[in-house]
Amino acid sequence: MKHFVSLLLHELRTLFIAPATYTAAVLFLLLMGLIYHGLLREYTLNEQEIAPVYLFFQLFWIPVLFMVPLLTMHSIAEERRTGTLETLMTTPVNATEIVLSKFAASWIFYCLLWLCTLSFPLIVHLCVGQAEVTHSLMETGPLLGGYVFTFLSGTLFIAVGIFSSCLTRSQLVAGMLSFSILFILILGPKLLQAQGITTELSWLQSSIDYLQIFTHLEDFSRGMIDTRPFFYYFSNAALVLGVSILVVESKA
């Protein structure tokens, strides 16, 4: 794994000099800013019983569904399309280092984007200057829990994006595949419950509850940190990355 750091730095450099990255980042922050602004309006017009931080993170899936495919669709697919993957595989680096470096770079960038949203309550505090507003927006427990959740769940989402990129030479196909898998992962259990299917198959209920990403989010964004999601996201990210490595090895 001695080449991992070099590859990681290379990937990060590539990300930070790519105009597409900035386009995606600006779109992400504009969208999240719009959501945040909407929350401020909602809390001004109507009394709410939920912390604003909790509501902010409830909509995490909107940017995830478009950001993660955008970040990851080119990672392996582009290398395969241009033939640079085969060249890379002839060097002393192995498929594990390649996949992990691309995963780590994408995840770091994903976390940095989310960390940029930490500026929102600070900006509102500077613009408005009301102590009670700042206190509600900067409630430590839910804020910390929400960000821990986004970083944690990001490991699985980015891993899925990398895996999708491994399967095809086309960035577009990789992006769509990633979007579909993420959609099923994030919204699938919720839709199953909404349809009442889990009530018919009650033995499935506890498994569905464990897979429910929104349940994890609700706990974290209230400030309740549970160890189960850590195992869920890390182990499944490891599984997906492992399969990605196998795919890259077989394709290269």
Binding site: P19, H37, N46, E47, E49, Q130, T199, F231, S235, A238
Partner: protein, 491 residues
């Protein structure tokens, strides 16, 4: 050997190897996740540890002596905001109950959510097994008994808005009720024309309140003091429900001994025109209840039908919810219950007037003979007239510490708990509060309610506009960086 078949064989084994790797990895992941679901922990980072259970509840959960099933019929999809709030708080609280019951060796608390309108099959099963067929209820069931918790026990309201969540107190109480080995026992005295626990009569029957007490796992028995030389040992509370006849001196003595020697609890309902023959007992406890009739002048303290509305309450656990929610009691004819002027001074005796009529009411002494009533300052008592008094006596120990002793609650109307009245206004709440307090049920649980925080920003249009513009700063900075990077790359 054919190189092609060698290659095919190698390819086959290569693929098989891959498949086995994937299957083993999958099995490992499943194993890790399964283990994680059984051995996990949770931490509360919220301010004031809002979602953590109290030490009391944790202690009860860790020493569960029976499996407890909790069934929640509150729907999370309700369009009503109060029901959504109720669902959210209940769900979050019960998660902690379930989590903390895992440390218990052998017995667990499981939670099931059932939408009785969507899941008809399960709703039917619940109705058959537990008699649970209403929405917005939480059922606690063990192998011994069950208890239904209603929304009014879970949420506190002020001006029709939920202000506090009392779920932990309600749920832990219910947990205790369904898992404790013994049930509280209330004895209703008989033999003096009392109101009857088994009668559905609207005026003299008590079946409505009896049903609620039984649903709270309280055992109800009859007590004929003519056949007993003492109040039974298992009596946690004795209720004398508006006797039409009088207790004999021997019966009165039995009750006095019960209260004084055994730190007993007694609730006496007595109405105008009756002499229950317990004057000495009341005197013993610093109380008196003359056969006067309370007459009300204030329209605010009267209902359209002429019945009284009691609106003045003490700040006491029995009446604090009525005081806070400004909920009156409705009663028919009532008599005063007051402190006795001739009571012997006793440091250990504390008397609390619980409820009273208005300032412009009075207690009429000659009501039985008069056709018209007018206030006579010589004979009558000017208002506000106390119609419910509580007397408590603490027992002294050898260490000089005051221990809880007997408690006597006297209410000047039996109508309060009659079938026709008990479900009206705050009568039911008052009666249950009084019984729970006399039984020490809620006072064992010093679990404070959680305030429901209501958040509303007072931002002006300018504030919102400036905030919106401010939120554009970060994406603008990033866009600028992007342009700079693009220009540098081009050059």
């Amino acid at each position: 050997m054919n190189p092609l078949s060698d290659f095919k064989k190698a390819n086959f084994y290569h693929r098989l190897n891959r498949m086995v790797q994937i299957v083993l990895a999958l099995t490992l992941i499943l194993g890790i996740n399964y283990t994680a679901t059984r051995y996990y922990t949770r931490g509360d980072l919220s301010q004031d540890r809002t979602y953590s259970l109290s030490a009391e509840t944790l202690a009860y959960l860790r020493h569960l002596n029976d499996d407890v099933k909790v069934i929640v019929t509150i729907s999370g999809d309700s369009p009503r905001s109060e029901e959504q709030l109720l669902y959210r708080y209940t769900r979050d609280m019960l998660k902690e109950y379930h989590h903390n019951s895992r440390d218990n060796s052998g017995y667990h608390l499981t939670v099931e959510y059932v939408d009785i309108y969507q899941n008809l099959k399960r709703a039917e099963e619940l109705s058959r097994t537990y008699g649970l067929d209403q929405p917005n209820l939480v059922l606690f069931a063990s192998s011994k008994r069950q208890r239904i918790v209603t929304p009014s026990e879970i949420l506190e309201f002020e001006n029709r808005k939920p202000t506090a969540f009392r779920g932990e107190q309600a749920f832990t109480s219910a947990l205790l009720e369904v898992t404790t080995e013994s049930q509280p026992v209330i004895y209703f005295t008989v033999g003096h024309g009392e109101m009857r626990a088994d009668s559905v009569d609207p005026i003299r029957g008590l079946t409505e309140i009896v049903r609620e007490l039984q649903s709270r796992n309280i055992l109800l028995k009859k007590l004929d003091l003519m056949q007993w030389s003492a109040v039974p040992e298992d009596a946690d509370l004795v209720i004398v429900a508006d006797p039409q006849g009088s207790f004999s001196p021997e019966e009165q003595e039995i009750l006095r001994n019960y209260l004084s020697e055994k730190a007993g609890r007694l609730i006496l309902f007595t109405s105008p025109g009756r002499d229950p023959g317990l004057k000495d007992l009341l005197q013993d406890w610093g109380l008196r209840s003359d056969d006067f009739l309370v007459l009300e002048q204030d329209g605010h303290y009267q209902e359209n039908s002429g019945n009284f509305l009691i609106r003045q309450f003490a700040d006491h656990p029995i009446t604090e919810s009525l005081l806070r929610n400004q909920t009156p009691l409705i009663i028919g004819a009532c008599r005063p219950v007051m402190e006795s002027k001739t009571a012997i001074a006793d440091d250990r005796l504390a008397r609390t007037p619980l409820m009273a009529s208005s300032k412009i009411s009075w207690a009429e002494s000659t009501w039985q003979n008069a056709t018209e009533y007018s206030f006579d300052p010589q004979a009558d008592i000017v208002g506000p007239i106390t119609v419910g008094m509580l007397a408590e006596r603490s027992a002294a120990s050898q260490l000089g510490i005051n221990l809880p002793g007997g408690r006597l609650l006297v209410i000047g109307s039996g109508d309060l708990v009659a079938n026709r009245r008990v479900s009206s206004y705050g009568n039911y709440t008052f009666t249950l509060n009084a019984i729970n307090w006399m039984l020490n049920r809620n006072s064992l649980l010093a679990i404070p309610p959680r305030r429901i925080e209501r958040i509303q920003f007072s931002l002006s249009g300018n504030d919102i506009l400036h905030s919106g513009l401010g939120l554009l700063i970060v994406p603008a900075i990033l866009a600028m960086f992007g342009v700079i990077v693009h220009l540098i790359r081009r050059n």
